[in-house]
Amino acid sequence: MLALLALVCSLAVAAETPPQSDAPQSAIVSGRVLDADTGRPIPGALVTAYGSAAASVTARILTNQGGFFVVRGLHRGSLALTAVKSGFVDAAYGQQRPAGGLQMIAIDEGQRLVDLDIRIWKQGALTGALLDETGDPVIGARVRAFRQIFVAARRRYTPAGEAITDDRGVYRIPHLTPGDYIVAAPSTQTSIPAEIMDTFFARTGTDAARADLALEMRSIDAPIVPAGSEYALAVGGIAMTLPPGTATPTSRPSGGLLVYPTVFYPAAAVAAQAGVVSLRSGEERGSIDMQLQPSRSVTLSGMLGAPAGMASHVAVRLLPVGGEALGEDVATATTITDSTGTFTFLGVPSGNYVLSVLRVPRLQQAPDDGSKITVQAGGVRVSTAAPPPGPVPPPPIPADATLWALVPVTVGAEDLTNIVVPLSPGPRMAGHVEFDGAETPPPPSVVATLRISLDPADGSAPPQGIDYDAGHPDETGQFTTYGVPPGRYLANVTGPSIPGWFFKGARYEGRDIADTPVEMTKSDITGVVLTFTDNPSRLSGTVRTNGSADPAGLVMAFPVDEDTWSSSGSRPRRMRVARADKNGLYSFANLPAGDYYVVAVRDDTPGDWWDPARLRSLSRAARQVHLTDGEQKRQDVETEARR
């Protein structure tokens, strides 16, 4: 759903701004939601209208017994329709396959369109049982499915669904689109110094310090639970949290803990060795059974080296080598340093790991302005506050450095102690924003709403805690980002779009680091110019098949230079898809200047658009297009059969 919505939003942004006049005649569209396999109407589906045509439509529409929906109150612009129904993959108008490309609908003032049927595909499901080494069911444990995708020409796995085992150890992950999956019963041993837990329960320290701690604990999903309870064991001054499920650590007679490490279906320890389960549309795949095996574990402890005060209460992660395709999502162990900067991981099985630290500067906690209302009912209290009217300005980027460390660790049969992990400051990027065009530049207050992202070129997730908001310009257009761990990054602009202006590129030392990665090492990078233009390029044309327009076509544009595919980050500007409309017309707005392959495909079989092998094969049949800045180019394309 997320991917689909992202696509909808980007389309909506690219479309023209809607006429705001109070037109007397709003447009009405109607149609049915139909089961794609049987053609049966689906009652009770929730239809939502997006796009510039639906700017004033707030209601979501429930289909009636005949599967019909009616959306009123539409105005001139473009429209996307999505349909959500339990038991089916989230769908959108014009899709040729589950999770396929959607089709925008052009709406005119006062128009009636009454045959807009939305096809919706039955979801797939994965089920199985989770047992322990004796065959006892593991109850209340989380099982997760990850779908294989291609990001920056690399195979990665993205969270696709999860379920909790029941009293029989049985789980069922529904709502899956066709694709290749890996399934895991993840297990993270979380060790929190008992003094930190006590801070919350004995209410010691300041409220602000506790709020900082709570944020740090949330960053590693550590629950705040009392040590020495059913929720956490107390082991030598460390609270080892006990996650739900019975696969809890036990002590072994010779000392130390027996833990149940993460297992990937069928019986792998790391994602790289997991078995891939291919799921067809609507398929229910059973017997994805896994067995947990207890493992001896050791304690790993040490100290972070950082300027005074900066090493205390910092989250530390132990990530398995071989789990890179999952990102930092499945850590083997997590902890937080105590006030002296000392960290202790309990329950670490032998293996190869990377110890990862990223200390993002802490923001000043906003003082409690008393605007929250605390309501009490039935002995329970809840604090609530209505969202403030208007946009909230982002907090200023702190002067403190971002501190990071990545240290390989090999764990054997013995405890590892006194590991010294020096933290290094991460480099920042600084520069300013320029508006290059005939239009009046936006007012400073609007400039300050922009968000600048630093996207790792290899497509890995941006640093936790910085995410897609590494920085933002001030009202004069100057910006400095947070420090980031060294690496190759792409600079991009996210955040709200500015009407009439389009992000053109990020100039640094004569190249565009929005598309060509910049190596950020120890020192800061300054003088970056983020440019906006009021004259975006447009590549458009008609998709044809056998000489006539093909409304089912999907057009892909990607760089001719294959070497750039693998350094295009997680949101490539130069790798785009556009779905043909009902007249077979397609359009790419604001494609950066360069040489592209443009190819039309039939979007009716599952698979990943960005599999490099597929791109290579498509490139042989593709048209080559050279696009310059601001160019309005037409290029018709013939639909190619999939291979």
Partner: protein, 609 residues
């Protein structure tokens, strides 16, 4: 109330003396027995230590005792329960201890100070059980341990029962991702209410749910209104008129009115009201299937109103909260329909897509603090003209005092946090004033108080260990709100508040013996005030404990007063806060006066008639 049918056995000396008690008072399984005070042993005030119930784990406490045991399944085979979580608590311990049973069900807690220990076992899918308890939700017995003592116990726990079924939507299709829970009346915060038991379930893509870990008992099963839309997002049902209009009506023909709908919370076998739900009786460990029912679509209501202030324009930070009251909220989740908004500059506000039911609408501004509140009923028709008149918040001021001869008061009075907690009738909602801390002189001021019943409370930052400061009194005017809530009235000056901490609490310890002089460990001893006006939920003067295997019992941290003491053969934890329950056991209870700071020892003996 649920006492009927529950095998409560009340013991009293008076009952023995009136052995010809009319049968009418001993109806059903309730039998009145006798409690014999051993008058030959005079009650005495004990200033020193009681060997079986040490008052404080002073710094000199030894940590030499060991408590170990085996956890067995509570069935005929009595197999070891592996990988269960066992917790160990005692008044003599700061915080608790926990461990995991090994493959043979064994657990050990070593290095313990002498004390009275309570053991509890939990395991997913099993029923949490206190050691020695007569059933789930019942108090366990304490295990007295002396310095250097090693004790081994056998604890038991049972697998929970299971309920499964299918929830459908209004079209007879699976209702997916819908929360389903099993509820049973039980006691929480001293009041009986519907509480969720077992592990709540979410329906899967086939609409199937499975609730497990349930103790035996009578349940109702409910499905929470599925959140197909974010709160407040309108859902409009497509009608045949809509389709007809879209397809055939000429331009200019007005469309049919919108029909806003929402899913209603529904209880098995198909009612929106918990009170009308069918009772499902579960036996221990049973798996019950076929709990099938369907969700209903209900018309939603648009609520419009305005907020105004007699002082002039409404404060800019005014917020409006809408939340379910009465039986409208799903049991155990009173805030499932909480909505918040801000009024426009002219004070108007609206909530759309409100499901049927009773609601409270609250308004509050933070600077200056003003408030307003009203009730509405949503039934599908538009509710308009809701009027909220902002009133200035009231103020409560007072001071904190430490009255002790053993402990030093905290160096920093600012470590004392004061909370003024609303005390409400069931189903009602109230604005809780923010917690405040005392200043360096111990003075505090709670602002923005709305009229209502309140209990004042205070706590000190830092670990709460044995023998620390205790809250002795929290008075508003002359009324101690720890005993009876204080009614803060609009338009009246609230009197000065006073919070007193003490380091000297009274206690009552003793031994419960049967007629033969043996330990009567199977009973529950209940201590409650003689004055019925003090029978309030969660009153500190009402306590229930199970004696240890040797018959010893201890009530700690008491305040002085006239008390009644009774023994019953079974009681759910907290059931003793129910005035009707206390009323029933009063005739057989023994009257005891306990002075402030008195360490009273009161051996008692039961006698059956």
């Amino acid at each position: 109330m649920a006492l009927a049918g529950r095998p409560n056995v009340v013991h009293s000396m008076k009952a023995m003396l009136r052995s010809a008690l009319p049968r009418a008072q001993t109806r059903q399984s309730i039998t009145l027995l006798a409690l014999l005070t051993l008058l030959t042993l005079p009650t005495r005030a004990v200033a020193g230590q009681n060997p079986t119930a040490p008052r404080d784990a002073a710094p000199t406490a030894q940590h030499t005792a060991t408590l170990s045991g085996v956890l067995l399944s509570d069935d005929e085979e009595a197999r070891p329960v592996r990988h269960a979580r066992v917790t160990c608590t005692a008044p003599e311990l700061t915080g608790g201890l926990s461990t995991i049973t090994d493959e043979r069900g064994h657990f050990t807690f070593a290095g313990l100070p002498a004390g009275r220990y309570t053991i509890r076992a939990t395991r997913a899918g099993w029923i949490t059980m206190a050691y020695g308890a007569r059933g789930p939700m019942r108090p366990g017995t304490a295990i007295p341990l002396a310095d250097g003592q090693t004790l081994s116990i056998v604890a038991r726990m049972a697998r929970g029962a299971v309920m499964t079924g299918t929830v459908l939507d209004e079209n007879g299709q699976p209702a997916v991702n819908t929360g389903v829970a099993a509820f049973k009346p039980s006691i929480q915060n001293g009041e009986r209410r519907l509480l969720s038991f077992g592990v709540p379930s979410t329906t899967d893509d086939r609409g199937i749910f499975r609730i497990y870990g349930l103790p035996a008992g009578d349940y109702i099963v409910g499905a929470a209104a599925p959140s197909t839309a974010p709160p407040g997002a309108d859902i409009r049902l497509t009608t045949d008129l809509d389709v007809h209009h879209a397809r055939t009506a000429g331009a200019g023909v007005p469309p049919p009115p919108d029909r806003g709908v929402a899913f209603a919370s529904t209880y098995f076998p198909g009612t929106p009201l918990a009170a009308q739900a069918a009772r499902i009786t579960l036996r221990a460990g049973e798996e019950r299937s076929g709990i099938d029912f369907a969700l209903q679509l209900v018309p939603t209501t648009q609520v419009d109103g305005s907020v105004f202030s007699a002082e002039g324009p409404i404060p800019p930070n005014t917020q409006i909260v809408l939340l379910a009251s009465g039986d409208t909220a799903f049991p155990d989740s009173p805030f499932d329909r909480l909505r918040t908004t801000r009024p426009s500059a002219d004070g108007t506000f609206s909530f759309s897509n409100v499901s049927p039911g009773q609601y409270t609408i609250l308004a509050r501004s933070s600077s200056p603090i003003t408030w307003a509140s009203t009730q509405i009923v949503a039934d599908g028709d538009r509710v308009s003209g809701v009027s909220l008149s902002l009133q200035p918040g009231l103020v409560l001021s007072g001071s904190v005092r430490f009255d002790g001869d053993r402990l030093k008061p905290p160096a920093d009075m600012k470590s004392v946090r004061i909370a003024l907690r609303p005390v409400q009738a069931q189903g009602m909602v109230a604005i809780a004033p923010p917690e405040v801390t005392a200043d360096a002189n111990g003075r505090f001021t709670v602002t923005g108080v709305t009229p209502g019943l309140y209990r004042l409370s205070a706590s000190i930052a830092g670990p709460a260990g044995p023998g620390g400061w205790l809250l002795r009194a929290a008075t508003i005017g002359r009324q101690d709100t720890l005993d009876v809530p204080y009614a803060i009235q609009p338009g009246q000056l609230t009197p000065e508040a006073a919070i007193v901490f003490t380091d000297r609490a009274a206690s009552l310890t003793g031994t419960l013996q049967n007629l033969a002089g043996g330990a009567a460990a199977e009973y529950t001893v209940i201590l409650f005030p003689a004055d019925q006006t003090l029978w309030t939920p969660q009153s500190r003067r009402v306590q229930g404990v199970r004696p240890s295997a040797d018959g010893t019992f201890a009530f700690l941290n008491l305040v002085g007063g006239e008390y009644l003491l009774a023994a019953v053969d079974d009681a759910e934890s907290g059931e003793w806060f129910d005035p009707a329950f206390l009323q029933r056991i009063t005739p057989g209870a023994l009257r005891i006066a306990i002075a402030d700071t008195e360490q009273k020892v009161q051996p008692i003996r039961l006698a059956r008639d």
